[in-house]
């Protein structure tokens, strides 16, 4: 039963990883940008949420309604202001721009908010759980996080395969030279993609903030898990990212069950094994994002 519990907790944790990784996966899928500032942006979202919650006294969940569009706006401006220009230069420029952005953003957050750890309180919800047996209980908050992760990934997938903008995003990803001939501005498509990606980062940042505590450096520490989820699942594949998140979460939970020292290690080993034996990931390009 303990093992079953470990698997359940691992799957729930995987939902959080997938939620955090969704934006990363989308930006890579559409623009081939490895957004190293992803974690720092998640913290920006968390601090925006903190300011809103402290300023107005609303619940963190209500604050998300504001945080997500704000982050989407940040993403739109960021793409026009930084990444579109970096893409024009090509090569390593987008990667370096993202890296620089991560450093500057983390330091700015530290200047403004200091490195004190912060938290968004959800009252009794933070410890509420559904008791299934003596050994198994499912936390309500992890369950909500997991649900949101799945819904976000599914919605993104539907959007990309069905909506006109989604089609444009796929087209801009597959053949950036031809798309402008059809009267579509790649840069605008990119900006909207980043806006959507950062909207999901807004959600992820808020759920990280509700789940435990955070400081300006916390997001970058979590970024490694999001990266692993993306790689395990297959670069650019959204369903793959969801699968990757869960595989990583379950691997960590099972590893910890053997010995707490092995948790993170087993996750990293699974990641390494995927890189070595199946470099394209679990679900490579099932549907291209």
């Amino acid at each position: 039963m303990q093992w079953l519990n470990a698997i359940i907790q691992g799957v729930l944790l995987g939902g959080l990883y997938a939620l955090l990784a969704a934006g990363l996966s989308l930006m890579f899928g559409v623009m081939r940008i490895v957004n190293l500032a992803h974690g720092a942006l998640a913290m920006l979202a968390a601090y925006i949420g903190l300011v809103i919650v402290q300023g107005t006294g609303v619940s963190p969940f209500l604050a998300m309604v504001a945080v997500v569009p704000i982050m989407a706006g940040v993403g739109y401006l960021l793409q026009w202001g930084v990444f579109n220009r970096a893409l024009r230069v090509g090569g390593l420029a987008p990667l370096l721009a993202a890296f620089g952005l991560a450093v500057v953003l983390t330091q700015l957050l530290q200047l403004k908010f200091t490195s004190d750890s912060q938290s968004l309180q959800t009252g009794s919800l933070s410890i509420a759980s559904i008791q299934i047996s003596d050994d198994i209980s499912i936390g309500v908050l992890p369950l909500i996080t997991f649900g949101v992760g799945v819904v976000v990934i599914a919605a993104l997938q539907v959007f990309i395969s069905k909506a006109p903008l989604g089609r444009a995003m796929r087209a801009a990803s597959d053949d950036p030279e031809t798309v402008p001939l059809m009267g579509i501005d790649n840069r605008q498509v990119y900006a909207l993609s980043t806006a959507i990606a950062l909207g999901t980062v807004g959600l992820a940042g808020m759920f990280l903030a509700v789940r435990g505590n955070f400081d300006p450096n916390y997001g970058q520490a979590m970024l490694i898990f999001a990266f692993e989820a993306v790689i395990i699942g297959g670069l650019g594949s959204l369903w793959g990212t969801l699968a990757g998140g869960m595989v990583l979460g379950v691997a960590q939970a099972l590893g910890s069950q053997v010995n707490p020292s092995y948790g993170v290690l087993v996750g990293n080993l699974v990641f390494l094994a995927i890189l070595a034996f199946r470099p394209s990931g679990l679900l490579p390009k099932a549907v291209t994002a």
């Binding site: 907790q9 691992g10 202001g81 500057v104 938290s119 992890p142 450096n217 948790g263 993170v264």
Partner: protein, 458 residues
């Protein structure tokens, strides 16, 4: 259009660059008092020496202060700029009198950025470039050990604190169990593993429990030292009837604690202890509540030593226990300024608007020790200061420090108490640390008043 856009990029890049350098400057060194360094001091001293003037001679002492102002350990260094500023102001009015000379004090604060390598670098800079006469450093082995190592290598006296003494001695390459090989230049004051065990056991004994202790430790220097079967917690608490359930050391940053939680539940561990980084503990504690692990008492080091981390836990922090290194209720006064612990804490809150924290008094006490050492040495000669430290005794804000009586030649122990966080019901700050265990401090000769009794967790 394009030109305008280019201009904007250039402007944006330039602005970002400026910001980055501004941050860099803030990080690298922010001296509180360089301006106050009396350039005339040494000239006056030499004039006095040659002329044999009747007026008291003057000279100046440079004190280098290495502390984590930024990075993951920044909570430890939060009050240090204030301490450095108020000490600078104090010494300006009250220069150190030693050997017939009046010494003004220049304090140079350097940020370790919570990075051991950087701490060693800035310590080397302070000694070799800035010409510091004495170094002070505090906050975890990540700061104190590299700084002390630089002092040993560069023959400069060094006063450190805020690191349990065993990891400090071991980190510098000594053997805590073998006092025959002391260090030459570094002197440290803090408590040790045995004090923490004594305080925690005293708290555990005040509640009804099955004496089974759950152990939550990360895989780091602290975790390895404290879980050591021969010299760590198991060896100390075992003979007192407590069992120690250590499922294994976890890597810091672990997100899922269900394995530990199910192990603790299975063994019915009613007491919980550990030395846990704050983010890990908050994740653990919320998951423990979700999965129905409810110990009778939790006494945890590191995670809940600072008000900010406790506030982040909200209601879940009620009655969590931790070791207390110093509190405003300590019946001590500063040997320098004469301020009582309560007045000292109040002055900090008044100046910064922040709640008191434990490292504050240790930072202040390092200045007390420095001044006492210079006085005892009769000047700023490095060898004389190091020699004087060997048998130094100071009645400091953190308690009586006596290097002649330490468990290791370079160590002076400070009295440790235990406390629980309790909601203040509309006070200035949401939680305050209530002292609930004082027997270990009493045994060490300091009678700290109790603020309440140990209360079990809900």
């Amino acid at each position: 259009m394009r030109v305008a856009r280019m201009m904007r990029v250039v402007a944006a890049v330039a602005a970002t660059g400026l910001l980055a350098t501004a941050c860099g400057n803030l990080d690298s060194s922010s001296s509180s008092s360089e301006a106050s360094a009396p350039a005339a001091g040494s000239a006056a001293a030499s004039a006095a020496a040659t002329g044999g003037a009747a007026a008291a001679a003057t000279d100046s002492i440079k004190v280098g202060f290495v502390t984590p102002l930024t990075g993951p350990l920044a909570a430890f260094g939060e009050g240090d700029q204030w301490v450095a500023d108020s000490m600078t102001a104090w010494f300006k009015e009250n220069p150190i009198q030693a050997g017939g000379t009046s010494y003004s004090v220049e304090v140079i604060v350097k940020d370790s950025q919570s990075d051991p390598k950087r701490a060693g670098e800035v310590a080397g800079e302070l000694i070799n470039t800035d010409g510091a006469d004495v170094l002070l450093a505090h906050a975890t082995p990540e700061t104190t050990v590299p700084v002390a190592a630089q002092c040993e290598a560069n023959a400069t006296p060094c006063i450190t604190s805020d690191t349990p003494w065993q990891p400090w001695v071991a980190g510098l390459g000594g053997n805590p169990g073998d006092p025959s090989k002391p260090f030459t230049w570094s002197y440290h004051f803090f408590w040790g593993l045995e004090d923490m065990a004594a305080v925690f056991m005293d708290m555990w004994n005040q509640v009804e429990s099955n004496k089974k202790v759950a152990a939550l430790y990360p895989n780091d220097a602290d975790g390895q030292a404290f879980t050591d079967e021969a010299q760590g917690f198991p060896a100390i608490i075992g003979p007192e009837g407590f069992s120690f359930n250590n499922p294994g050391l976890y890597p810091s940053g672990t997100q899922d604690f269900s394995a530990q939680i199910s192990a603790f539940k299975k063994n019915d561990d009613q007491l919980l202890t550990g030395i846990v980084p704050p983010p890990d503990f908050i994740n653990f504690w919320k998951q423990a509540k979700q999965q129905g692990y409810n110990p009778v008492l939790a006494t945890v080091g590191k995670a809940i030593e600072f008000p900010a981390a406790v506030a982040a836990l909200g209601d879940l922090a009620q009655n969590l226990g931790t070791e207390v290194w110093w509190a405003p209720s300590y019946p001590t006064t500063s040997s320098l300024t004469g301020l009582s612990s309560a007045d000292f804490a109040a002055a900090y809150t008044e100046a910064t608007g922040k709640q008191w924290n434990m490292p504050l008094a240790f930072s202040e006490s390092m200045f007390e020790v420095m001044a006492a050492a210079v006085t005892a040495a009769g000047g700023k000669d490095k060898q004389a200061i190091a020699d004087a430290m060997k048998t130094m005794q100071v009645d400091a804000l953190v308690g009586n420090l006596d290097w002649g009586k330490g468990p290791f030649p370079n160590i002076a122990k400070t009295p440790l108490t235990g406390g629980q966080w309790r909601a203040t019901d509309g006070g200035e700050f949401p939680f305050d640390l209530t002292i609930v265990s004082n027997s270990a401090a009493k045994a060490a000769g300091l009678d700290v008043p109790l603020g309440g009794k140990v209360e079990p967790l809900q």
